[in-house]
């Protein structure tokens, strides 16, 4: 697709702009990790598409260096899929906040998982609506007091990784933005995975979420292992048990290799429709002979 270049792609190259998140925001760690992962994979910026949602998280769209698409709130997933189908040769990585992914974007999430396109979807989960100044989100702790829940939230939180598992994502992991190196490892594997990869990343909001701080997370984070040959339901059960102990499981929970959506629906993923010569073919008119 492009001339070979010998230039080594450093993490720095994937940064278009100095980010403007609040000092200490967890999203810095995610940005650092994704840059390292992209560098490790030597993905060329012009062959990479980032697709981000609306939120503090979504601002990564303005900061990352590649073809970068900032969608509407909650619409990361359909836009990603549209891009991927039009040109399966591109690497497509999505970024959403917890509200973007699990409130307004929830339906797309479930449906994307059952399709299994080769996309990587990163949720920058701060358990709060950051950009709108601190309302509770679908992942907020129960009872959390926020601008929109002055008497405490009354809803059961969603566990992003559990939803991904139940819905059928073929790669499910959770990372912590306080550990960019570890996160990078997860990202590398998620991007390499052929299928729908979901990485739920804990990413503290230091401005509006005074409950779920770095310390709060550090005390609870627990790497889980030994899930390799377990079924989705067994893994869910296991994760629930860990959570019941007040811990937060992190790591790669699930990985399964199966056909991707593109492979299922495209005649030839190697010849993207985006690059097709569109001159009408004579044979098209044969298709309407039946209406004679």
């Amino acid at each position: 697709m492009s001339p070979v270049t010998e230039v080594k792609l450093t993490p720095r190259i994937y940064e278009a702009k100095k980010p403007g998140w609040c000092p200490g925001c967890g999203d810095y760690g995610i940005f650092a990790a994704i840059k390292m992962a992209l560098s490790e994979l030597q993905i060329r910026p012009h062959e990479l598409v980032s697709v981000a949602g609306i939120g503090c998280s979504g601002k990564i769209s303005d900061y990352i260096y590649c073809y970068s698409v900032h969608t509407l709130h909650g619409r990361v997933m359909p836009v990603m899929l549209g891009i991927k189908l039009a040109n399966p040769k591109l690497t497509v990585i999505g970024f959403s906040g917890d509200g973007d992914a699990f409130a307004i974007g929830m339906s797309h999430f479930i449906h994307m998982a059952r399709r299994n396109p080769d996309l990587t979807y990163i949720i920058m989960d701060n358990q709060i609506y950051g950009l709108t100044k601190g309302q509770y989100s679908p992942t907020s702790n129960p009872g959390m007091r926020t601008g929109s829940s002055p008497y405490g939230s009354k809803e059961e939180p969603i566990d992003g990784a559990a939803v991904a598992l139940s819905a059928g994502a073929t790669f499910v992991a959770r990372g912590f933005s306080g550990d960019p190196k570890g996160l990078k490892e997860i990202f590398v594997k998620a991007i390499r995975h052929r299928g729908f990869s979901v990485v739920d990343v804990i990413s503290p909001c230091v401005t509006f979420n005074r409950i779920n701080t770095y310390d709060w997370y550090r005390q609870r984070i627990t790497p889980v292992e030994g899930l390799e040959n377990k079924s989705r339901a067994e893994i869910l059960e296991h994760l629930m048990r860990v959570k019941a102990q007040g811990k937060i499981p992190v790591g790669i929970f699930y990985e399964e290799n199966t056909r991707t959506y593109e492979e299922e629906v495209l005649l030839n993923p190697e010849e993207p429709m985006a690059l097709q010569d569109l001159t009408p073919r004579e044979e098209f008119w044969d298709l309407v002979e039946i209406y004679r």
Binding site: L85, N87, L267, T279, R281
Partner: protein
């Protein structure tokens, strides 16, 4: 005697077979070399509610539902009650009398034949469903409907899939109907159908013409969610796009659909979605997004009766306001409106070209009547099928040969408003895309000056596009004192009304609903009485015309879910 000019209505309950009978009859007439148009009036329920199907055929082109009916095939008594008053003097009623005969009716100018259609079908062909074929046989007996054509069609349909026995059973049913009428000794001298040379082109519904138009226009990506009356577009493309490495995604809803299309368009595919009112409303946010990121997407809206879920299978043109004004904020768009299936094909191709040349959403405004009724389409010309991709730069060539990872001013402020465009994968073409206000490179910005430049640039595209947009078409003699302005499928009845009125008015068909070009209309409306006819309540087209002409017009509106009869328009203009 009326020769080769007929209007037949078939009425019954949903599930009674009125739709399939109508389709067959339409095809027979089309194959006999007549021009055909249909009018399906069916419920949004799979069974049990009254349905009817009207076929009009003539040796000259037909463009509207008929004013009156020559033949009514009634599968139940309800159909008599509903449609009797529409019968033309001297017309025929074929009544399915298996469950009782039709006795007294308050019209003595009609030929009524009671035929136990079901019974005959059962007797001669062993299956009640063939009652429809029996009815066509009856029709043939007093019109001369061509048995050979019927036979050809039956063979095409059944020979391969079901074998000769089925064909023969059908022919038997046909002949039984024919004989039944003949034996009744009723008149056969009022209506006459005869071969009129070769078929006059294709017989297809608007949606099929649109789907085909999309394919030849280079559309390879379709995302949609099932909805009446748009679904045929998805189903057609689902069959054929995959053969050309395209894809149809049935999305989880319309919001996903339009965002899928946005993604595919951004990545360089020609992308489309189709829907109807409820879906259009849901797509509103996506529409503004597409305009802001300057992606080329074609959105077909097949308008049905609103508001809300409304009357899903009935026609209306009441989505003009939303197509033209819907969506928060100020953004450019183009709205095209074809008048019949053939023009739907032509303008679909244009829609894709304009979308890509001007990098904006094109709404294709198609009312349900046009979307779902059959038309004789004289031609689907190949020379119309030209693909113009505008400022899209070749993705295989580097925009910056020194540095494949260089950035590119995707939203460059140009005189035309159109900026050169790269797609992901293009070396040297990197840029940012966002629904937030942005700089030439697509980076977020709220600077006042940049904002104003980008707003101006986006809207400038409409000015650049203006001379390139489909102009209104004028029919009749512009010297007449009255002018009738219409759009979409209302053009058909307007033209027939004009003929009926012997040139008491002329007709201007608006094909570009937005940007609305008043200059195109000024010349035709000065010192004239201006009428606007449309199928909606508020007079949405009239509102646009009024605004642009700066004066009030006569509004001719209809909003009971049915399209105009020509005579209704004529009367409204002449009274």
């Amino acid at each position: 005697m009326k020769v080769n000019d007929i209007a037949v209505r078939i009425g019954g309950q949903a599930g009674d077979g009125a739709l399939t009978t109508g389709d067959t009859l339409a095809l027979v007439l089309h194959r006999m070399g007549l021009y055909v148009i249909t009018f399906k009036d069916f419920p949004s329920q799979i069974r049990g509610i009254h349905t009817n199907y009207t076929i009009r055929a003539s040796a000259k082109p037909v463009q509207a539902r008929p004013d009156t009916l020559d033949v009514l095939m009634a599968f139940d008594h309800d159909s008599i009650e509903r449609h009797l008053h529409e019968m033309a003097p001297g017309g025929y009623i074929i009544y399915e009398s298996s469950r009782g005969e039709l006795k007294e009716i308050p019209r003595d100018d009609l030929v009524v034949i009671n035929v136990p259609l079901r019974k005959i079908a059962q007797e001669v062909a062993g299956r009640e469903v063939m009652k429809n074929t029996v009815a066509l046989g009856v029709l043939a007996a007093f019109t001369g409907l061509d048995r050979q054509v019927m036979e050809d069609i039956l063979k095409e349909r059944f020979l391969k899939r079901k074998g000769m026995a089925v064909v023969e059973a059908n022919l038997k049913a046909f002949d039984a109907g024919y004989d039944f009428y003949q034996q009744a000794g009723l008149p056969t001298d009022h209506l006459k159908l005869q071969r009129n040379g070769e078929p006059k082109g294709y017989l297809m519904i608007g949606n099929e013409a649109i789907a085909f138009g999309a394919l030849v226009a280079g559309c390879r990506f379709y995302a949609g969610y099932p909805i009446t009356p748009a679904s045929e577009i998805m189903e057609w493309l689902a069959k054929f796009l995959p053969k050309y490495n395209g894809v149809v995604v049935q999305a989880e809803d319309e919001i996903a659909s339009i965002n899928l299309a946005a993604g595919a368009a951004l990545a360089g595919a020609r992308a489309m979605t189709a829907t109807s009112g409820p879906g259009l409303s849901l797509m509103t946010e996506g529409l503004g997004y597409i305009a802001t990121i300057e992606a080329p997407v074609v959105l077909v809206n097949t308008t049905r009766s609103g508001p809300s879920t409304g009357m899903p299978t009935k026609t209306e043109q009441s989505d003009i306001f939303h197509s033209v004004f819907g969506g928060h904020g100020d953004f450019p768009r183009i709205v095209l409106s074809p008048k019949d299936a053939q023009e739907a094909y032509l303008l679909t191709i244009e829609a894709f070209n304009l979308a890509e040349e001007f990098q904006l959403p094109v709404i294709f405004f198609v009312d349900q009547f046009l979307a779902q009724n059959k038309y004789t389409v004289p031609d689907l010309p190949r020379e119309a099928a030209q693909v113009r991709r505008g400022e899209l730069l070749d993705p295989t060539k580097s925009v910056n040969p020194d540095d494949p990872e260089a950035t590119f001013p995707r939203y460059r402020v140009t005189e035309s408003g159109v900026s050169p465009r790269t797609i992901p994968g293009t070396p040297g073409g990197i840029h940012w895309v966002t629904g937030l206000e942005h700089t030439e490179y697509g980076h977020v910005s709220t600077y006042a000056k940049n904002r104003v430049e980008q707003m101006n640039k986006r809207f400038r595209k409409l000015e650049t596009a203006r001379p390139r947009l489909p102009k209104p078409v004028v029919y009749g003699d512009p010297k007449a004192e009255r002018v009738l302005i219409v759009t979409g499928s209302t053009t058909g009845p307007a033209l027939e009304a004009m003929e009926q009125a012997d040139g008491a008015f002329f007709v201007v068909q608006v094909r570009t609903l937005w940007p609305f070009d008043v200059n195109d209309l000024k010349a035709y409306t000065e010192n004239k009485a201006v009428y606007v006819a449309e199928v909606d309540y508020q007079g949405q087209l009239a509102f646009l015309v009024e605004h642009h002409l700066g004066r009030k017009v006569h509004r001719v509106v209809k909003y009971n879910g049915r399209p105009f009869r020509p005579s209704e328009i004529k009367e409204a203009l002449l009274s």
